[in-house]
């Protein structure tokens, strides 16, 4: 029987290079990540004027953003850098101050009795606000909640929130709810 000639493999490298270059150009490596939020449900259209009791002033942490990207927190002009601390103070109310939100003692599994805050963070932006600024503010508010949760989970379980089991996470979430409500945007100050 005649021996079959060997297939030349010198061009193998070139073929592989071609494939490689194709994959490098046609694909992207970036991992998609971002700030996760859940939008509130649309109210039914035929809803009557809602009869929920009005929320007390002390339970609301109002954050306003105007068209010139200025930030107003609880009625005073402030910087994005200070927002996190203010929000944390609002959520935890460490000194049980009169101006900060009320707490409601609740029995929570795994944690026990815990004073759950009644505070709500209210964020309102202008039509002209820049998205980057809006996201920075959102980020600070989420960061404040996450930091408070981390502190509680280190205190109760000795671990960071991310490392907890799902049950423990649920307990922490119940103890420190993330209530960030977004109002319909208005035109606040400044020209459009």
């Amino acid at each position: 029987m005649r021996k079959t000639p060997e297939i030349p493999s010198a061009s193998m490298a070139d073929i592989a290079f071609m494939l490689l270059i194709f994959f490098i150009t046609a694909t992207s490596m970036d991992v998609d990540s971002g700030l996760e939020r859940v939008l509130p449900q649309m109210p039914p259209e035929n809803q009557e004027q809602d009869d929920t009791p009005p929320i007390k002033e002390r339970n609301v942490f109002s954050v306003l953003l105007d068209a010139n990207n200025r930030l107003m927190v609880e009625g005073e002009l402030s910087r994005v850098e200070d927002l996190r601390e203010k929000a944390k103070e609002f959520i935890t109310n460490p000194a049980n101050s009169e101006n900060l939100p009320e707490t409601k003692p609740t029995e929570i599994p795994l944690i026990g009795n815990f004073d759950v805050t009644k505070g709500i963070i209210s964020l309102r932006n202008d039509h002209g606000t820049q998205y980057g600024m809006y996201l920075a503010v959102q980020n600070e508010l989420v960061a404040a909640v996450n930091e408070v949760r981390n502190e509680l989970s280190t205190e109760k379980f000795g671990k960071k929130y991310e490392e907890l089991t799902n049950e423990q996470k649920g307990a922490i979430r119940e103890a420190i709810p993330s209530r960030i409500s977004e109002a319909e945007p208005k035109t606040i100050g400044g020209k459009k």
Partner: protein, 157 residues
């Protein structure tokens, strides 16, 4: 002494290239595994804002994307420079979003629909008006789980 000088007149042997295909294939497999195929070409310029509290989008197949930003240079003649919405491979209006959400839903398995996420890739200089309108449309379409796509910011402590 002559023992050491024996080969000095000879040329260096050529480096064997027999293993080159193997090396390149290794690279190829590395890239095939770590990257994902780009499915849309961007018609708008999107410079993502930075944030620190990021969550990764775990299941790519459950994510639908909405891009918002000023049109790329070659489209500015037709579409101007104001931020526009891009769905799939074309420019869209805010009112197209519910249809887009429905189409995305129809393309998925029914059991997976509750886990779908809408990723908003919005240019950081966009005004909030358009984003607010998109959010309202998403609420109407009951696509409530959203993700504001952003880059990781350097941690400042």
């Amino acid at each position: 002494m002559s023992k050491f000088r024996k080969d000095s007149s000879k040329d260096l042997p050529a480096i064997s290239t027999a293993s080159l295909p193997d090396i390149v294939f290794m690279l190829l497999f590395f890239f095939m595994v770590t990257t994902t195929i780009r499915d849309v070409s961007l018609l708008v310029k999107v410079q993502l804002p930075t944030a620190t509290e990021l969550t990764k989008l775990e299941k790519k197949s459950l994510v639908s994307y909405i891009y918002v930003g000023p049109p790329q240079k070659q489209y500015t003649k037709m579409f101007g420079t104001e931020p526009r919405i891009q769905l799939n491979d074309q420019f869209a209006k805010v009112s197209d979003i519910p249809d887009y959400v429905l189409a995305e839903r129809a393309a998925r398995d029914e059991a997976e629909i509750p886990f779908m996420v809408t990723s908003l890739k919005v240019d950081e200089l966009t005004k909030m008006q358009i984003v607010g309108e998109i959010k309202q449309e998403l609420r109407k379409a009951a696509a409530l789980h959203i993700n504001y796509s952003s880059r990781k910011a350097a941690v400042t402590d």
